[in-house]
């Protein structure tokens, strides 16, 4: 059984805008999948439909055998605890410490009162510290998040997702705001998490070279439709043109050749 299955998922905004147009694919447990496509292709919408930050208009999403679109209340919250999310702009609470931000990953497991008061168990705190240690943020633990660099903030974001003990990570343009060396650290970390912890990773990227380098599987999206779904080496030039449009396609192909060389 696949971990994640999408069946003809469609998302409409208003009457005219079709953000996702009948998207179907499935992801096996432990896969590292990159979703590529131009801005506005529907990549972010797609990820947000999977953890229901956005409601789908039509179609079905099965996660671990459970149908996602109809989930409500407690069941929806339980569904979200199983999926960690990483954002382009890190989405941390800047005034709080690194450790507090990481512990936010546990809030999905709390009842209302525990959540409001922010009561975490001894074990949860130790686990948060351990994860920070493995991500090289032990020294930064008590610092406020607005004192960190972009790369460090994104690692805090990853720590917050990992402390959820998720089955899958959704990464929405995780390196779009980072310099190349920080970006490499983040992508290496994601691959490491995928390989050693067996967590499925679904990552939105607009850097095709990065996607080809890291992913085992590429899903190309344009105008809300899946154009390509397969391994990186089978992605043809014609298909890149189709995903990105002709002019951008040329630039990307140039990069691809240089990367190959």
């Amino acid at each position: 059984m696949s971990l994640l299955e999408l069946h003809s998922v469609t998302k409409r905004y208003g009457a005219e805008t079709l953000a996702l147009n009948s998207i179907t694919f499935s992801v096996q447990s432990g896969e590292f999948v990159a979703i590529i496509g131009p801005s506005g292709a529907g990549k972010s919408t797609l990820l947000r439909c999977i953890n229901r930050l956005i409601d789908v208009s039509e179609g079905d999403i099965l996660f671990n055998g459970v149908s996602v679109p109809k989930l409500r209340g407690k069941e929806l919250r339980h569904h979200r605890t199983q999926i960690g999310m990483i954002f382009q702009h890190y989405n941390l609470v800047n005034r709080l410490s690194v450790l507090e931000n990481v512990l936010h990953g546990r809030l999905g497991y709390k009842n209302t009162l525990q959540g409001i008061l922010g009561l975490y168990s001894e074990q949860e705190k130790r686990e948060a510290v351990r994860i920070l240690e493995t991500l090289g943020l032990y020294e930064q633990m008590y610092k406020r998040c607005d004192q960190l660099s972009g790369g460090q903030k994104q690692r805090v974001g990853i720590a917050r997702a990992l402390v959820q003990q998720p089955k899958m990570l959704l990464c929405d343009e995780p390196i779009a705001s980072l310099d190349p060396s920080s970006a490499k650290v983040i992508m290496d970390t994601l691959r490491e998490i995928n390989r050693t912890m067996g967590i499925t990773v679904l990552v939105n990227l607009h850097q095709v070279d990065v996607a080809l380098h890291y992913a085992e599987r590429i899903i190309g999206i344009n105008r809300g439709q899946v154009i390509y779904d397969g391994p990186p080496h089978a992605l043809s030039n014609a298909q890149i043109y189709q995903i990105y449009g002709s002019e951008a396609g040329e630039l990307i192909l140039d990069l691809k050749e240089r990367y190959a060389a």
């Binding site: 954002f87 890190y90 989405n91 609470v93 800047n94 507090e100 936010h104 999905g108 959540g115």
Partner: protein, 262 residues
């Protein structure tokens, strides 16, 4: 259009504006039969009179304990009304802000309530509330409370929306409940702003409370009114001095707090 003509027209406009202002002023003076010369000549006299009459005398100083206890009452009413209004205002702002409202329908009523309470002046609120509560401490309390509630709600809606949707989205994605998102993400982000605005409102309300007290017959305002109308200028002046000292003190304290939290 030539530059010449442009500047001539500009000069003409200025002249016209000046003439209008002058004639409105002159018209008002004539209508109210205000004697400008005598008015201006009276200023030094007024100062001399103030210096002689407003120096607190023996009798005034003997009333100091009474004045201080009334001042305390006024300051406490100002602090209590501001603090309670700040807490409720934050709650209302959560309903009104685009990023935290539980449903889009909550937003407009919350903003409307804030707008109505804020735009009616504190003295007008006091007059309205006089009907319900009469000349009691409640009138003053509620007048200050309503204005502060409106103000705090308004500024906190802006603060919450400025903090942005990103951390809220991240916490939703972890499966956190609405209450947890508010208390763990939204409130820590805007608490310093809330405290800063609360301190500002306490300062403002101590000043307003003095004036409202004259209307409602309570607190330090009442005492001033009483002494003044009994021609007991020395005591009235002591009331003013003590109030000014209290306001300055509170302002110093709140500035110090603000420096620490921001």
């Amino acid at each position: 259009m030539q530059p010449d003509t442009f500047f001539r027209r500009r000069r003409l406009q200025s002249l016209l504006f000046f003439v209008v202002i002058l004639s409105v002023t002159y018209g008002s003076i004539v209508l109210t039969q205000f004697d400008v010369v005598r008015g201006l000549l009276a200023v030094p006299q007024a100062f001399a009179w103030a210096v002689v009459n407003f120096i607190p005398d023996e009798r005034a100083w003997s009333r100091l304990p009474n004045i201080l206890s009334k001042l305390q009452e006024t300051v406490l009413v100002a602090i209590a009304s501001s603090t309670i209004a700040a807490v409720l205002g934050l709650g209302l702002a959560l309903f009104g802000a685009n990023t935290t409202r539980p449903h889009p329908w909550f937003s407009l009523p919350a903003r409307a309530i804030a707008s109505v309470f804020r735009n009616i002046d504190v003295s007008v609120w006091a007059l309205i509330l006089l009907f319900s509560f009469g000349q009691s401490g409640f009138t003053g309390f509620f007048a200050l409370f309503f204005v502060t509630l409106g103000f705090i709600t308004r500024v906190m809606i802006e603060t919450i929306d400025e903090v942005g949707v990103e951390p809220i989205e991240a916490l939703r994605a972890t499966g956190a409940s609405y209450g947890a998102i508010i208390s763990q993400s939204v409130i820590p982000s805007c608490l310093p702003q809330l405290i800063s605005w609360l301190l500002y409102m306490i300062e403002t309300n101590i000043r307003s409370a003095t004036l409202v007290g004259i209307l409602t017959g309570t607190g330090i305002g009442f005492l001033f009114d009483l002494y003044f109308k009994n021609f007991n200028y020395g005591s009235a002046s002591l009331v003013v001095l003590v109030t000014v000292a209290a306001v300055l003190l509170i302002e110093t304290v709140s500035n110090a707090i603000r420096r620490i939290i921001l």
